[in-house]
């Protein structure tokens, strides 16, 4: 650090002013364009909170009711806005409570900066009150982390933190700041970070790879695109659409890629993976060319790797070299930002038609519609289904809502049936599968996109994991719509117990409190419905409301999510029942 620090001194043009480390942190946040942050105070971070008090007209701090809520809110904010989410906590338990959110942001490539207080420099290693080695603990779940022990390190390290969090493949950064560094005064001046020796965020695209990929695309008879969040993070939605249309290629998405291309687009054939659509899963093992764009071949996408797309040539468009050949061999790897690489390949692509190939997807969709989708969204049985609730939200929001889902059956249903007409509209915990994500993430999503309607879809299990964040919605009147799909079970685990553990329902029956009363305790308008006749009007009422709104829908208790690729099975073995 020393050498860079010295260099910085000499290149800074701004005049230095003497301020405390805590005040410097606020100036760094403001310089990075931060307007909202989420956190929870405590002993070791109090000097920073004291400055937040003074700067409250410039920087909004939202007091979440648990530090985990702060991370998920920061994630929701980041995912919907494309900006860096910021969370702040004290040392010890405050810091360890951030770990789930850090791990979630790491696996889902979400730009986030977390700031933790730490005991004073002299007390490090003495097992002081609320001392914990958060650098050691957070190392495997951060893109970068650093412990500041001197006030003078703050500007350079904070600049580096924001640069690293948002550049290349984004991710979470944790900065741990000892109390003495917050209190001590130093000559402050700030300069944004534009590069770090030893860190190359975006590999330079190679024209030979682009050409090789174009040749494969132009000669393919049955090409198939699977795109992921890399399209959204790379802001390549337009380029993806142009490629899909010009080469006339059926395109499917991973859960993290949802909403990058309109659901209604005729070439959008649906979701891949464990509960993805029938056609896309089956056709993965029928296509002659698989174009993987900004996705990482998660096991929930590939099923059994030994039988995944073995017949196809694979082109992998990817920003992170470590993802290439990690799980699936790439015949051609096109490294770079998806916007750049797709932009470069477009002029080399011939216009094409693959009608017979498209018809197979249509046939498979018909089979899936008749056996599953019809019953999910237009059920004839008495009990309400999760699918029809999502469909009503689509209708009432004109497909324009941001859907924030938690984890489990309702998440799969929400991702399968939510219709999107705008990118960055599907906010969910994809890689880590963090129950409790949705409620705080929806708060962050709403604050990151105040002009958009944000609907949280949550199960009765996950809702109770971060239910305390209703307090934030109450205090700040955050106008999010909260829909709890209550099946009185941990539905996804129950489904697995039914299918693979001979219906031994170990600890999956939920004995729930009166959710409506709880919401009302927070002065949130709340309703419970259990009959179909009330569904449409209540959802319309909810969507029309300008206030926070809580809706509990009692749904069928023992419904299952299909199609399903059982764990360890091949994508070809996707089950319709």
């Amino acid at each position: 650090m020393e050498t860079v620090k010295e260099k910085k001194k000499s290149t800074d043009s701004k005049k230095a002013i003497k301020i405390s480390g805590a005040e410097a942190i606020i100036h760094c946040l403001l310089a990075e364009g931060v307007d909202t942050m989420y956190g929870y105070p405590g002993g070791a971070i109090m000097p920073v909170y004291d400055e937040l008090y003074k700067f409250q007209d410039k920087l909004t701090h939202i007091l979440t009711r648990h530090e985990q809520g702060a991370t998920h809110a920061a994630q929701g904010y980041a995912r919907v806005s494309g900006r860096v989410g910021v969370a702040i906590a004290t040392s010890g338990p405050g810091a360890t409570n951030l770990v789930t959110g850090l791990a979630d942001a790491q696996i889902d490539s979400t730009p986030m900066v977390c700031i933790t207080g730490q005991v004073t420099r002299q007390l490090l290693g003495t097992d002081a009150f609320q001392e914990t080695d958060i650098i050691g603990i957070s190392t495997p779940v951060t893109k970068w982390n650093y412990q500041i022990t001197e006030a003078s390190e703050i500007p350079e390290v904070m600049a580096k933190a924001f640069y690293i969090a948002k550049s290349g493949r984004p991710g979470p950064v944790l900065i741990d700041i000892t109390k003495n560094a917050q209190i001590d005064k130093f000559d402050f001046s700030y300069k944004k970070c534009t590069g770090v020796r030893s860190y190359k965020p975006v590999p330079k695209p190679e024209m030979s790879a682009i050409q090789a990929a174009a040749d494969l695309i132009n000669s393919a008879k049955k090409p198939f695109i699977v795109w992921g969040q890399g399209v959204i993070l790379g802001q390549a939605e337009k380029e993806l659409k142009e490629l899909v249309e010009k080469a006339n290629i059926p395109a499917a998405w991973t859960i993290m890629g949802a909403s990058a291309l309109d659901t209604a687009h005729p070439l959008n054939v649906g979701m891949v993976g464990m509960h993805g659509n029938y056609g896309p899963n089956l056709m993965t093992n029928e296509c002659d060319l698989l174009l993987a764009i900004g996705m990482r071949f998660d096991d929930r996408v590939t099923g059994r790797l030994e039988d995944y797309a073995k017949q196809a040539k694979v082109i992998h468009f990817e920003i992170d070299p470590a993802e290439v050949n990690k799980n699936v061999h790439a015949d051609v790897a096109v490294l770079g930002n998806s916007k750049d690489t797709l932009g470069l390949i477009l002029p080399l692509i011939n216009e094409n038609k693959h009608e017979a190939w498209h018809n197979i997807f249509k046939e498979k969709y018909k089979i899936e519609y008749d056996t599953i989708i019809k019953n999910d969204i237009h059920p004839t049985k008495d009990g309400l289904t999760m699918g029809e609730v999502i469909e009503e939200i689509n209708l009432a929001s004109n497909n324009k809502a941001v859907i924030v889902s938690d984890v489990g059956q309702h998440q799969m249903i929400a991702c399968r049936y939510a219709k999107f007409s705008q990118s960055k509209s599907n906010i969910t915990s994809g890689g880590l599968g963090t129950m409790g994500f949705a409620l705080p993430a929806a708060i962050g999503a709403k604050m990151g996109a105040m002009d958009r309607e944000v609907v949280a879809i949550i199960g009765d299990g996950g809702f109770q994991m971060t239910i305390q964040e209703l307090g934030v919605i109450f205090q700040h009147k955050v106008p999010v719509k909260i829909v709890v799909l209550n099946n009185e079970h941990l539905g996804m685990v129950r489904q697995w117990q039914e299918l693979f553990f001979e219906k031994r329902y170990a600890s999956t029956v939920m004995v729930n409190p009166d959710f409506v009363k709880i919401a009302e305790g927070y002065s949130i308008e709340a309703k419970r419905i259990s009959e179909r006749k009330d569904l449409k009007s209540t959802i319309q009422e909810m969507m029309a409301s300008k206030e926070p709104y809580f809706l509990e829908v009692k749904v069928e208790q023992e419904d299952n999510v299909f199609p399903m690729i059982p764990s360890g099975a091949s994508v070809s073995e996707v089950r319709l029942k």
Partner: protein, 172 residues
């Protein structure tokens, strides 16, 4: 895919916590680090980790990819034994009396091309550099006479091919 010996060379900044970050990548994959050495490298202000692991090429490829992704890592490589020149170093502490009473000890030192580092009233110390099996051989030869202390370093190695770190640094 069969397990083989791989030497992983990591060029990096010299920062607190980087060792933890690198070792965590092995831990997450339940792969043991067989030996580890950290030193300066041929380039000023650039550190070099030399890590030996016994695993498959698939996993060493994965690990090197993850190591290289760390912010403070400049470049990481992996090599098989026949692509590198490598050595380890060992120290043997032996009771001084043996040096004079057991003539064979002097022969062992000579035959193994080892050096006496220091001699004191109570003990003397022998240094030996070489391949693992050469050091193990010498250990076996000395063992019957009694070894007071023994230590062997991690592997250090240079590759037959160029690493071109200076050129890589210029690109950043």
């Amino acid at each position: 895919m069969e397990n083989k010996w791989f030497t992983i060379s990591v060029y990096s900044e010299n920062n607190v916590g980087l060792l933890n970050r690198i070792s965590g990548i092995f831990l997450k994959r339940h792969i043991n680090i067989e030996s580890l050495n950290v030193s300066k490298s041929e380039i000023d202000d650039v550190s070099k980790f030399t890590i030996v692991a016994h695993t498959t090429e698939k996993w060493v490829h994965n690990i090197v990819g993850q190591i290289e992704k760390q912010i403070e890592v400049i470049k990481a490589y992996y090599h098989t034994d026949d692509e590198t020149i490598y050595q380890e170093s060992a120290l043997f502490k032996i009771a001084s009396g043996l040096l004079f009473d057991e003539r064979q000890i002097q022969n062992i030192i000579k035959d193994n091309n080892a050096q006496i580092v220091t001699v004191s009233r109570d003990f003397f110390v022998i240094a030996k550099s070489g391949r693992r099996n050469e050091i193990d051989d010498m250990h076996d030869q000395l063992k019957p006479y009694g070894i007071m202390q023994f230590v062997r370093s991690g592997r250090i190695s240079v590759t037959k091919d160029e690493m071109k770190i200076s050129a890589i640094l210029k690109e950043f």
